[in-house]
Symmetry: C2
DNA sequence: AGGCTAATGACAGTCACTGACAATTGACAA
DNA sequence: TTGTCAATTGTCAGTGACTGTCATTAGCCT
């Protein structure tokens, strides 16, 4: 990797870190692209040559995490039931995700940015749209595992929708609480996934929830 | 209602219709606020006095539909199981929604705009964010029905997430297909909701889906 | 060293949106 | 009916995200 490439990577990383730092401290809406560019001492135009938009910087790290999850699902043994495969895939990949993140930015910074995403309307919207795309991808994977046609059989999409819904609920609860650790999120997710069975079966009024 | 009020309503309706017509024919991104204002012959500033933003016009009608659904859920007899109550509420309220829409714009126009929403990234994102808010509201209603505390018991949110997920899947399938009627959407939703049970129980590989 | 190409900066323009102020217009009492 | 008051609107100027263009700079390769 020659000087040119190294310089490019450095500028991109610097822009990314500057952006995330600003988002986490000052807030997303309160940070202008000019602020980010100025912090790295490049022109605004250069920022837009590295990132398609302000949003892209906020979602750079989350994208890495997504990739891990999708791959983890692909790697699950075909014998597992769909919901079980999804469950194990997320929990397992979250165990490994710390290192992936730390290569780019401090995990603690990422966690603060994650909260900003959940609490900034524009970012939350973008996040949910991306989640929908991911669900489509996962539905295809699940359908393939089970030897079904996604477009003919609704079941893969339904299970994935349930799963995605639970994940999103835990994300929101986590970001609203005060335990910002990755471990806290993992824990919350596991608890909620455990509740899927009880939530769908039996009579709620006669059965307590743990 | 005096002249002043009548005039206001007329301008607002005209702006709304002009916007939706433009979105449906030319596309959302291809329509500028200036275009909409010009079509009604008012200043751009006036547009922003009636609508908080361009998006708001696109979501005006959907908001009415949401309200109907939420009220329909509230009106369900307490004896019904949560998922059953939600199911009946949507299907039933969609039967009545035609008239509500027609008071504002032709239903056919609304259907075309709905497709634009599903196919325009920025609008889809906003739509999904709103859907998340709605789910939160529904979760609270369900929890109340069952005499539970939403913040302590995960089950209401899980059921609502499942339900919302199924609705969103059908919305996307519907908007990708070529039956743009409300009836077609109702039908698709009913079919998918019927599949929730089969999707979550049993072994897919040994059971065909209708 | 010098020519080639990629990266950058500077500049101008578009579009969504906002604040401020002046002009207009309906409402309502005298 | 008229005059006053308040609401509605238009105009203008400005911000912030983004894009296209073109000249300049800087690494690369012979």
């Amino acid at each position: 990797m020659n000087l040119r490439e190294r310089k490019k990577r450095r500028t991109r990383d610097a822009l990314l870190r500057a952006a995330l730092e600003l988002f986490a401290t000052r807030g997303y809406e309160e940070t202008t692209v000019d602020d980010i560019a100025a912090a790295v001492d490049v022109s605004q135009r250069t920022f837009f040559r590295y990132f398609a938009g302000k949003e892209e910087t906020a979602f750079y790290v989350p994208r890495l995490a997504e990739t891990q999850v999708v791959e983890a699902v692909r790697a699950r043994p075909p014998g597992e039931a769909p919901l079980e495969a999804l469950r194990r895939a997320v929990l397992e990949s979250w165990d490994r995700i710390n290192e992936t993140i730390e290569e780019i930015v401090p995990v603690e910074l990422h966690m603060r940015v994650y909260r900003v995403i959940e609490s900034t309307p524009a970012l939350l919207a973008a996040h949910l749209r991306r989640a929908a795309e991911l669900e489509e991808e996962l539905a295809r994977i699940i359908a393939e595992r089970e030897g079904l046609d996604v477009d003919a059989d609704p079941r893969p999409r339904i299970v994935v929708a349930l799963f995605g819904g639970v994940i999103r609920v835990t994300e929101r609860l986590w970001s609203a609480g005060d335990d910002l650790t990755l471990e806290g999120m993992r824990q919350l997710t596991a608890t909620y996934l455990d509740q899927v069975g009880p939530a769908l079966a039996g009579n709620w009024r006669t059965e307590q929830s743990p």
